[in-house]
Structures are given as structure tokens and as C-alpha cells.
Assembly symmetry: C2
Homo-oligomer: 91 residues x 2
Amino acid sequence: MSLDQIEYFVAIAEEGNIGRAALRLHISQPPLSRQLRRLEDELGAPLFERHPRGVTLLPAGTRFLQHARSVLREVDRARRAVAERPPDPHT
Amino acid sequence: MSLDQIEYFVAIAEEGNIGRAALRLHISQPPLSRQLRRLEDELGAPLFERHPRGVTLLPAGTRFLQHARSVLREVDRARRAVAERPPDPHT
DNA sequence: GCGATCCAATACCGTTTGGGTATGGAGAGC
DNA sequence: GCTCTCCATACCCAAACGGTATTGGATCGC
């Protein structure tokens, strides 16, 4: 599992459509489909149901989504924690 | 930034020594040094001070460490959330 | 002071992974 | 049944990753 895969998953979940998610992520659709499949393979369960009009979250996908967002939030906080200046007792 | 880099960083922080962290991670020392450097480059700040006997966390590294551990914890929860069976009202 | 030792950093290589283009295939709507 | 819309597959090229070999630098023991 990679952070990119997690970010891709969230985008697909929010768009409900792999092609639109690809546009939003500025990558093309085939690699995005492949990353999603690899994520599902690694997790051992499908996360989306494929429809002719897009994709919808399966229960496992819905459960995963919440934690996926938490991961991305925490990564963001980690970046900012490095950027922020440590408190200086003299100021 | 990748999940591997985060995991590598935590191992180095805990070992205080890149070589020992490499053993623990079952990779060799040079790629681990390189991943650490790339992480520091991306974050725009060094995370460790290099000593002749190992490495020690800088303040920015200490701040990063807490969030890094949160990220790994949350990834673990995400995996388990997919594995767990959804509640069934009939049982 | 000098050699030995211990670490991290660099150089180079082979393999793997990731993204791009082109194309196929299945289902919905008219 | 034709078309339109998606997702999946095939193939290719470039980037990233890990491994081995080696260098550089600083300390420790003599």
C-alpha cells in the first residue's frame, strides 16, 4: 500500500467515477484503474462495485475510506509539524 | 513522501543508527540512507543530526515522529477495517 | 600520531514500479 | 442494433528502489 494509492482511492470514492478521478488527479485512467486493483488485491477484498456508469463503494470500501482520510490528514499534519518553528522561550 | 519512508524514519529514530535500522527493516544501509535524505529533502529540513556514532533526532524530527507513528497506526486500522466483517443484524 | 574501527554517504547496476497511449469489451439508453 | 460511456487490458518508456562495492570522516586504542 502506498500513500498515492490511498489518495487515489479517496478521489475515486468522491468522484464515483474512475475517469473523472483521473482527471482530478492529473493522471490518465488506465494507471488509476490499475492502482485501484492493486490496492484491492493487497487488501484481499474489492472496495468498489463496478457499474456501467461508474463505481460505488462496497461496505469494506466505506470502512476503508474513513481511515484513508485520517491517514491523509495525519500526513498533512506531519508535513506542517516539520515546517512550524519550534517554540522559543525568549519570544 | 511514501509510507515506506515514514516506516523507515520511525525505525531510524528508534534505533538511533541507520545501519541497525536497516538490519531491522531487512534492507541494506545505503538505500535506507538515501530514503532518509529524500524524505528530508522533500520536507525541506533535516530530521536527524549525524554523529560519528549514529544519529539523533532534531526538534523537527521529534515533531515529525509523533505524526509518523499516527500515520502508521491509521494505516494498520485501515487494513483491519477492510478485513473485519460488517455487522450482520441477524446474528 | 597512527592504524583500526565504526558509521554514514556516494557510485554504479539490475530490476521493479509507475504513468502514458492505444485498444478492447461490457452494459445502458435511445 | 447502434452508439455512448466506462472500466480493463496490452504494450512501452522513464523513474524509483534495493543491492554490492567503495569512499569519506570521525573516534578510539595503542
